[in-house]
């Protein structure tokens, strides 16, 4: 096999197994793919390590001892051994070295002459058994294969650079489970933006847009549109948006924390005022009783999630935006407990 083929295959294997697109790791993997050919002084590895290659080529046939599980073990022991000595700073590099080396010689199994896989046993392992279908080094078949491999490499690196295979797969199948997985993975540190294609439950109108996840309710989500409206997205009948396709992306860095506020016949606004800051999304949940329910002017938007429910003097909130509560219940005195969820968005990164 040509050096390029070795490098591309080892880089693909490294990228797939380690699920990484880190250039350093991939380069180490690719270079490690060239190392098995150190048993011949005309190869790249042989020219870099002339002493070793001269020693080996005087004693062994090409593709024998360096193309075996024994050699792979030696490389593994060397790689992980030196990692242990350097306080495990290079674990990823050690992985890449071992994987790259292994796939470097394994690929030669498909050549005409095969490899002595179980060296010191001298059987040469080939695949397939019929030599007519094996690959001749530098042949047009190998160049075709190389082009194919480069295409696969581009795809694999791309997938791994943008969050790994699972995220791309979730994006492809566009099911709520994939969004939930991403939300569970990165929801603590980042805002999760969803792209939803679906229909409005109330009038079957088409919905297509980007929303921010506020809360996950199993298979459905409470999301906020860019206009600040709150919806429940899911497949069940009490959702405002019935999703057909839902995919998620990691948004700007954001931290979420929850506090409990206790009201003992206190004015709502005075206590909530402090949370009204720029760059924070604040939502209230819980039940309080208000003193003057008759004065409340609030009318719920039927298209939206019913985040505010009033029955008698009791005010039920579920992910109600702070501003809405402050607008409509500014001069109310409340008694009870509210849970306040604050999502602080850092504007340093813009996705």
């Amino acid at each position: 096999m040509m050096s390029w083929t070795h490098m591309v295959v080892s880089a693909i294997a490294t990228s797939l197994i380690l699920e990484t697109a880190d250039p350093v790791t991939l380069t180490v993997g690719a270079i490690a793919g060239l190392l098995p050919d150190v048993d011949i002084s005309t190869s790249i590895a042989g020219r870099v390590l002339p002493w070793l290659s001269n020693w080996l080529e005087r004693r062994f046939p090409h593709r024998s001892c360096t193309h075996s599980f024994v050699a792979s073990t030696v490389v593994g022991v060397f790689a992980y051994g030196s990692t242990l000595l350097t306080e495990r700073n290079f674990l990823q590099v050690a992985h890449a070295l071992t994987i790259g080396y292994f796939f470097g010689w394994l690929l030669d199994m498909f050549t005409k002459t095969g490899v002595e896989m179980f060296w010191p046993a001298t059987e040469r392992y080939v695949c397939p058994g019929n030599r007519k279908f094996r690959i001749k080094t530098g042949s047009s078949v190998e160049y075709t294969l190389l082009i194919l491999l480069i295409a696969i490499a581009l795809l694999v690196f791309n997938i791994n650079a943008s969050g790994g295979l699972m995220r791309q797969f979730n994006r492809l199948i566009a099911l709520p489970s994939g969004v939930e997985e991403l939300y569970n993975q990165s929801g603590a540190t980042h805002l999760i933006l969803t792209h939803i294609k679906g229909i409005r439950n109330i009038d079957r109108g088409k919905i297509l847009g980007d929303f921010t996840i506020i809360e996950s309710l199993g298979e459905s989500f409470i999301v906020q549109s860019q206009e600040g409206k709150i919806y429940k997205v899911g497949l069940d009948s009490n959702s405002q948006i019935i999703s057909e396709q839902i995919t998620a992306d990691i948004g700007p860095t954001a931290t979420t924390h929850v506090e409990t506020l206790t009201f003992d016949d206190e004015e709502l606004t005075s206590k909530l005022e402090q949370f009204n800051r720029e760059g924070a999304k604040v939502f209230l949940s819980g039940q309080v009783s208000i003193d003057d329910a008759d004065e409340v002017q609030y009318i719920a938007d039927p298209y939206e999630f019913p985040f505010i429910k009033i029955s008698g003097s009791s005010l039920n909130l579920e992910n109600a935006p702070l501003m809405t509560v402050m607008n409509y219940f500014s001069n109310q005195y409340a008694t009870g407990q509210l849970e306040i969820k604050i999502i602080n968005i850092q504007n340093t990164s813009n996705a």
């Binding site: 002084s41 020219r47 024998s64 392992y125 695949c127 007519k132 581009l154 690196f157």
Partner: protein, 336 residues
């Protein structure tokens, strides 16, 4: 949707990809000079080879027919067996060095003063005549008529009743069945035979006498044989060339010399004819099975990533192994 998803992933990737391959390209820089040197080697060796000018240091000793027998253990064992009144069959693949070994055995026996008859398969009558002549048995009547085959058989059998002598039969698998049956009967007299056969069947005389098989020669022996062959042909081969040619020898001295011959003639050959090739397609099946096991593990631990990746791996490996299974078998004939 699928296409849009793939297009949509173009984020950080191109940067890292380019970086990875820039690193790769640096490694490739010295490569540019290599194809010239590597293509020069075979042609230049060939040009040197035909006029055979001993100008370089490797060909300092051009005419050294320093023959060395690497199968000393086998030689000792065969001699011991023959001298202990037991015939022996030496089996081995083509070119494994049976004839060379037989010559060494004969030389040793003759030096020790024994009578040795050596034959190669021809017609039964001819073979019987050759044996009789070499053993010094009468082959014809006083009137000058040669005996019939039946008479020769009796004469030879009688000879062995009274004398100690050895019969060496090379390529014995090519003798016809009736001749081999006679050999089996001859064994009942005190005839001592060294039979040499390429992959003999487990029948008649072959199953009747103890046999030993010749193993492949160790790599150092093959390398020395190749170096010797190269010197004899005036080829100046570097260690790297020898290492690559040795891949085609597979522990078989005949193939080792053939590889040197092919290099001498400038033939572009990569695969060899030795019997060391093992089809590793079952390993792909094993990898597929391992993927299925992982998939079950992924399923039971609700690890979507493991489930998905091992599923893809299993499908690819099983499909590939099925495909390999259906590929036509290799032709036993010499053709492209």
């Amino acid at each position: 949707m699928a296409i849009s998803a793939i297009i949509a992933v173009n984020g950080v990737a191109p940067v890292s990809f380019v970086a990875a391959f820039c690193g790769g390209a640096l490694v490739f820089m010295p490569r540019t000079s290599s194809p010239k040197t590597s293509t020069q080697t075979p042609s230049s060796t060939n040009e040197q080879a035909i006029p055979s000018e001993p100008e370089s240091e490797v060909i300092e000793t051009p005419v050294v027919p320093s023959f060395r027998l690497y199968r000393q253990n086998e030689l000792r064992r065969i001699l011991a067996s023959l001298l202990a009144n037991s015939s022996i069959l030496v089996a081995g693949e083509e070119g494994s060095g049976k004839s060379v070994l037989a010559n060494a055995v004969m030389e040793k026996l003759k030096n020790d003063g024994f009578t040795v008859a050596y034959i190669e398969p021809t017609t039964p009558k001819q073979m019987l005549l050759q044996i009789a002549e070499q053993l010094g048995v009468e082959t014809g009547s006083l009137e000058g008529r040669t005996y019939t085959a039946e008479r020769l058989k009796i004469e030879i059998a009688e000879f062995f009743q009274e004398n100690i002598a050895f019969v060496v039969i090379d390529d014995c698998q090519n003798c016809d069945a009736r001749f081999r049956l006679w050999l089996k009967q001859l064994k009942k007299t005190r005839a001592l035979m060294l039979l040499l056969a390429t992959n003999p069947p487990k029948t008649d005389v072959f199953s009747n006498i103890p046999s030993m098989t010749l193993k492949q020669l160790p790599e150092y022996a093959i390398r020395e044989i190749m170096e010797q062959a190269a010197i004899e042909r005036g080829l100046n081969l570097k260690n790297s060339d020898l290492a690559q040619l040795q891949e085609r020898a597979g522990g078989n001295p005949m193939l080792a010399i053939r590889a040197i011959d092919e290099e001498y003639l400038g033939l572009d050959i990569e695969a060899a004819d030795h019997n060391r090739y093992v089809d590793s397609s079952p390993l792909i099946l094993i990898a597929g099975v391992a993927c299925i096991v992982l998939r079950v593990l992924g399923m039971s631990t609700h690890s979507h990533a493991l489930y998905l990746i091992s599923g893809i791996g299993a499908a690819l490996c099983m499909g590939l192994s099925r495909l390999l299974y259906h590929l036509p078998k290799e032709s036993r004939r010499i053709r492209r």
